[in-house]
Chain length 218, copies 2
DNA sequence: TGTACATCAGTGAACGCGCGTTCACTGATGTAC
DNA sequence: TGTACATCAGTGAACGCGCGTTCACTGATGTAC
């Protein structure tokens, strides 16, 4: 788990064994929670949690922004992995969308700290910060768009502007997800159910609009 | 405009004339912008902008949280007013939804600082902070839900779960609106158009699902 | 195998800064007699 | 109308704090000869 090599653990007292970027990232993650967002973390706080002197932080990251972007990228990759797995598990009975939404909700309930980052930090922080979140979100939209196209081809249902539909679904799910985090456990399920319904609504909408569009061009 | 009574302006030098809550709110608004959110403002900063000593702030607000909540409430009321006006202007030709969306977009483009607050601060800040934003959003959902019901009755179109539909539209428009703020002028129109289409998609979806539901209960 | 040396991740101390908050104050305003 | 007094929004100075960042350092590790 820890990346501290055991063979090097004999160091002079008062001196920490070598610490890696990953250890600092782990420390930052430990500090995050429902009431702490990445943008409120201080360098000293993270260093303290990691068990290093504040200035040692600079050996691994230029500044907190760089750490934050690293966290955001990790969070995006992690969630894409999870959603990707869910996509694979989708069958003809269980739609891709349903499967992915379920996976997302499950992760949400698991209180995954990486997920918190993606959900919360989209609108605050430095420009680099916002851009990193936007980038991850656009990856999701891209992949979801492909799913929708495949899905429509498979079912023979229409599809109006897959990219736009994917964007609407992604953004809506992420905002709603963010509000779930603040809710007490017992209300989370309720909101999760709402999110699923909202996604269905959007998909029904894109199909209907596609049908109308097709009729008009007849 | 200013609430400083002119008749009382003769005060001893080095002493500010009486200042009101509104003056402090105005100072806070002045400091906000695309890269400054309410939650990053400091008490001293606001006091400086208002031209008072830091400790004078306490004569008007318990702390920054109280100011923030006041700002959020103002922002919500202001936008509801604007949307309410748009609702009145809606005709049979221009739908309520179109009219309201247009009004929202116009306000967005006008770079209204109160609107910034509502769009940005939903996911960060103290609990009181988040609760205040949630409350304002729920007001919108409520009113929009009523609109949707009236609209459906008027047009005879179906409507599946008006409250849920209103929530989806509100949340989606607000998140998308938040991303608009960071965009350069020339890309804002594009995104604004996307938002309108997304709303149409949701409305089409709720109508379709209502139709399906009605068919099933036949 | 031993020695000299470069590298580099760690260190403690210190810096100046802006912050929220407190204190005892002051003096203009409004009220009671 | 004048005087005494309470009120209260303003004040400057000071506090202790955590912050980001810098500095010159140290000593373990790996490499060259």
């Amino acid at each position: 788990m820890s990346s501290i090599p055991a063979k090097k653990s004999l160091v002079s007292p008062g001196r920490k064994p070598m610490i890696s970027r990953e250890d600092i990232i782990a420390a930052a993650l430990k500090l995050l929670g429902p009431s702490r967002s990445v943008s409120t973390l201080s360098l000293r706080e993270v260093a303290r949690e990691a068990g290093i002197a504040p200035n040692s932080f600079y050996r691994h990251f230029r500044d907190m922004d760089e750490l934050a972007v690293a966290l955001i990228d990790m969070a995006g990759e992690s969630l894409r992995q999870i959603i990707g797995d869910a996509r694979q598990r989708a069958t003809l009975e269980v739609s891709v969308v349903q499967s992915c939404t379920d996976a997302f909700m499950e992760q949400l309930r698991a209180d995954d700290r990486l997920l918190h980052i993606l959900l919360r930090e989209g609108t605050v922080g430095s420009d680099a910060f916002k851009r990193a979140v936007e980038r991850q979100l656009s990856f999701f939209e891209e992949e979801l768009g492909q799913d929708l196209i495949r899905l429509a081809a498979l079912k023979g249902s229409g599809l109006c502007q897959p990219a736009l539909t994917a964007k609407a679904i992604t953004r809506l799910v992420f905002t709603m997800g963010a509000t779930v985090l603040d809710l007490p456990r017992d209300k989370q399920d309720e909101l999760a159910a709402q999110i699923v319904k909202m996604v269905r609504m959007i998909i029904a909408g894109t199909q209907t609009l596609a049908a109308i569009g097709a009729k008009k061009t007849d």
